[in-house]
Structures are given as C-alpha cells and as structure tokens.
Amino acid sequence: MSEHTETALGLTESRSVGGRILRNVVHLLVLIVFAGPLLALLVSAFGHVKDPTQLSVIPSGVTLDNFRIAFDQGVLTYLLNSFFVVGGGLLLQVAVSVLAGYALARKVFPGMTLVLVAVLATLMLPEEILALPLSLILSDLPVVHFNLIGTLAGMIVPLGAWGFSILVMTEFMKDVPRELEEAARIDGAGDLRIFAQIILPMCKPALGVIGVFGFTMIWDQYLLPLLVSTDSSSYTLPLALRTLRIDPSVTPGVVMAASLLALLPSVIVFLFFQRSFVSGLSSGALKG
C-alpha cells in the first residue's frame, strides 16, 4: 500500500491505529454481507444431505452426494441446454453486432439516424413488457410460420440482436483510422474484405467486452426460456432450479448444488475478464 492518492473519506491513507481497525472492520463486514451468502451456498452444496433447512458457512464435512442426486434429477441435461443456448446465442449476437456495427460506424447512408434511433429504442423496450406478444410470435413467426415454442432455438434467436453490443461495436469501430481503410480500398479490397481483415482484427478488445456482457446477459435469462419451454427436456439450468425446489424429495443442499453449477460459469467469466467487464460497465453507464 504505497500509493498516496487522496480520497474523499481519506480512509485508505489513514495510518492511525483507529483508522486501520476501522478499515479492517469495514472490509470484513463487506465480505460477510456480500460474499457470505455465496460461501454458504458453496458449503451447503458440498455439505451432507440430512440437514433440510439449515444453510451455514461452517462446513459439516465434504461430500458429493448433493451433486450425485442433482445429476440423477437430470441436471446434466439442463446444464447442456444452458451451454447450448449460451453458445449459440453468443455466436449469433456477436456476428450480428459486428456486422451492424460496421455499417453504422464506417458508412454514411440515408436512414442511418433512423437505424440508430431504432437500435436505441430497443434498449428502452424491456423484454418483460413484450413477454405476452413475444410468446405468441414465437409460436408462429410472421411470414415464415415457424413454431419456436419448445425448442432451444426459440431461446437463442430472440437474443441475436442486442442494442447494447451493437452500440459498443459501433463506437469502437469508429475509432479505427480511416487511412487503413483508404489504403485497402486503393489496393482493391471490397467491403467484406475490409470488414473481415482490417476492421474486425482491430476490434478485439470490444469483442471481449460484448462477449463477456453477452454471456452474462444470456446466462441470466429467465423469462424467455420460461415462455419458450414446454416441458423439462428443454429447460435451462436456471429454470430447472425451481422445478428441483418444488420436488418435495429434493433437499436444499441439492438445489444449492445445482445453483452452484448455474452460477459458476458466470463467476468464472467475470473473474477472468474482470478488467473488460468493469471498464465496459462503467463506460456504458457513464455514457448513458
């Protein structure tokens, strides 16, 4: 702790005994309040099955029984469904966003403002509010007449276009120097080539940001899978938690074991990409 950057409360640089104690107490409290429940989840997922209600941070021995029971209840299928949905959804979302971002950032065309406004408008249209009509549309897509209800595709395709990642890509692609593009054009490269070989490789950091956010967003989906799935064979893991809990033969330890599997991927992604996650979060929020 060598930095002496001034802060509003001046807590960090306070060197007195009282200041140090206060600092430790604050950090401990924060950990107990915010990480404590997750620790309790971890402990009870590996804890013994016999205790039906108690959730505790004190381990009562380590066992995999809860996971074994959870797998007997079909958790593997739900987990695979979740992976399939997040994999497909993310691929589609990233592809759609980079394509749209290219047009919005590197082209000037009539109607561009309208498109930008439309993209922004989708961000103000909460999916919850569209739930009812969306469930009708998914059962019979206009013009093409597909029925997506009961399919994993129905949980993927509606997430393909996300205004947030389109806007992130647009902003980022605007910063690629014009000269690179001009040079490529003089060499005879067309739009597809410029997009794939010049612009896209320079957008790796932005790809990281939309990848992390897209993953978290899709993994956290609840209402859409709820609308789409008809029976448990197409449940994603978050959806299955409720079915598990309602089953009277299943103990909280088993629900916590399944919950651990449901939260692990997003926690891993967060820990690995913390930097781009937090910076993307604040730049997104501060820019509005």
Partner: protein
Amino acid sequence: MSLDQAEPAAPPAAGPSPRKPGRRDGGATGLLGRSRRSGRWWTPWLFLAPALILFLYFKFIPMANALTMSFQEVQPYLGNKWVGTDNYATVLQSHGFREAAWHTVVLAAGQTAGSMALGLALALLMEGQSRRLKIVRSAAFLPVVVPLAVVAELWRIMYHPTGDGMLNSLLGMVGVGPSGFINDPDTSMASIMLTGIWRGAPYDMMIILAGLTSVDRGLYEAAKVDGASRWQRVWHVAVPGLRSVFSILFILAAIRGLRVFTEVFLLTNGGPDGSTEVVMTLIYKLGLEQNRLGVGAAGAVLLFVATLILTVVVQLLRRRESK
C-alpha cells in the same frame, strides 16, 4: 470478389451523392475510386439486415402486437374482437392491478434508494488503489454476476421462516425472534427489497467508484487545507462530482425496478395474500395462466408508458440542471 468491384460506376440514381463528409476525394482514382469508396447504396443495409430483421421480429412486431392486443379481446382460433379502451378500463379499475402497481412502485423506490445509498457508502469506504481493496471489491461485486434465479433460490433458503433458518439464526443471536420473511405478508415486501439491494448495491458501488475517479484529487487536498472535515469533503466535493452518475444510476435502477419479475416470481410469486404481487407477475398470470391476453397487454403498455415517462422526466431534469 468484393461487393463493389463488380460494377465500376454506381448508377447515379441508386443513391444520393457518394461524397461523404470528412473524406478526401482523392483525384488519382477518379470515377472508379469514388464508386469504390461509397460502395453500392445497399451495402450498409446488407450488413444491417440480420440485426434489423431480428429487431423487427422480436422487438418491434411484438410491441405493435402488444398495442393492438391491448384494444382487443384476444380469442385464439376465434379471431380477435375490437373492444376499444375496455381493457384499459378493466386494468385501471381493477383493485388487483392498482395494488400491484403500488407494490411495484414501493419495491422500485426502495430498491433504488437502498442500492444507491449503500453503493455510495461502499464506494466511499473502499475507494483506493491497494491490492487488498481490489480483492475486497471484486468479492463484493460477485452478487451482480450471479444469475437472478440462483439469487432467488439462495435467498429463499436463507429466509427459511423457522428459528433454524440461516438469517433467523443470525437474528436469534441478537435476541430477535424468528421472522417469517417472505412467508409473512408484513415482511415479504421488505425481504424482496433486501435481496434486491444485496444484488444492486455492488453494481452501484462500481459505477460510483468509476465516477469518483473523475473527481479532481487536488480538490480534496484543497478542501482539507481549508479545514473541511471528512463529511464536508464528501458532501461538497465528491457528491457534486457524481451528479450525472447518480441520475444515470437512478434511471437504470428505477426501470429495472418497474419491470421486476424473476425475483418476485421465484421468491413469492406474488404471495403471501398478494402482498408482493407486482405488475409483471400479474401480467404473467393474466396472460399465460388465465389467457386474458388483451388485459395483460393493456397492463404491459401502461407499464411501458410509465418507464418511458420516468426516463424522459429524469433526462429533462438533468438537462435543466446542467444548464
């Protein structure tokens, strides 16, 4: 083969002038170069097509359908009947909907205020560069990335209403009797709010921390030299610098609060005794359980209008303030 090489000179009628602002029209390549730079008029639309089609199908058509449905009695297989504003009248006069709207506002306000106050406190207490602070902040941020469904199941178990439930045994330690939490109509709303604050405060903390980095450090120093106390530094230096951060957090949290669904659906599903019924759980029940799609759509449209008004009002206030 590139898209714009096939045709050397773009037909002049196809689009407006190929000249673009901010671009030098190099003379060397002449006509050919101009068409190359602009591409065909439909090139951008080709790149935009996937996004626009998906938006059309899953955002704009549903929105338009919600609007029309809200004026109709929706009867699958029988054809919809136009009923004018009947659905809206039904919704607005229904006791259940007004209750749910009130609960939604209370929940949104409580969660927003709680998360922002706690987030500010956390940010001020944990502002700094040390390694340990970064680790503590990351740990505190974890609730934000935990899927909502997991948050709800976790807190359901923590809220177990008997004395040996996790939170109740904590309460027992300080000599307070077991609480019913989400099972008791008196405490159910506060319990959901608490869960929401737990998940929302670390998010607000991170955004406020980012905002604090833009406050000029020298101002703290100067205030200190002038004899300002810690609280005066917070109140007169840090908080004013955070004004725009607060207004954005407020909009985001309030909208999130108004459309709340998953937590409530999983924690209480509106119960006990309808004490936590919010607009979205009610709409879900109307539409998907009772098949009263028109009434549900009217409720959804009203909810949308409310979020829209809120956003616009806050933006206007912000603009006036910054003048």
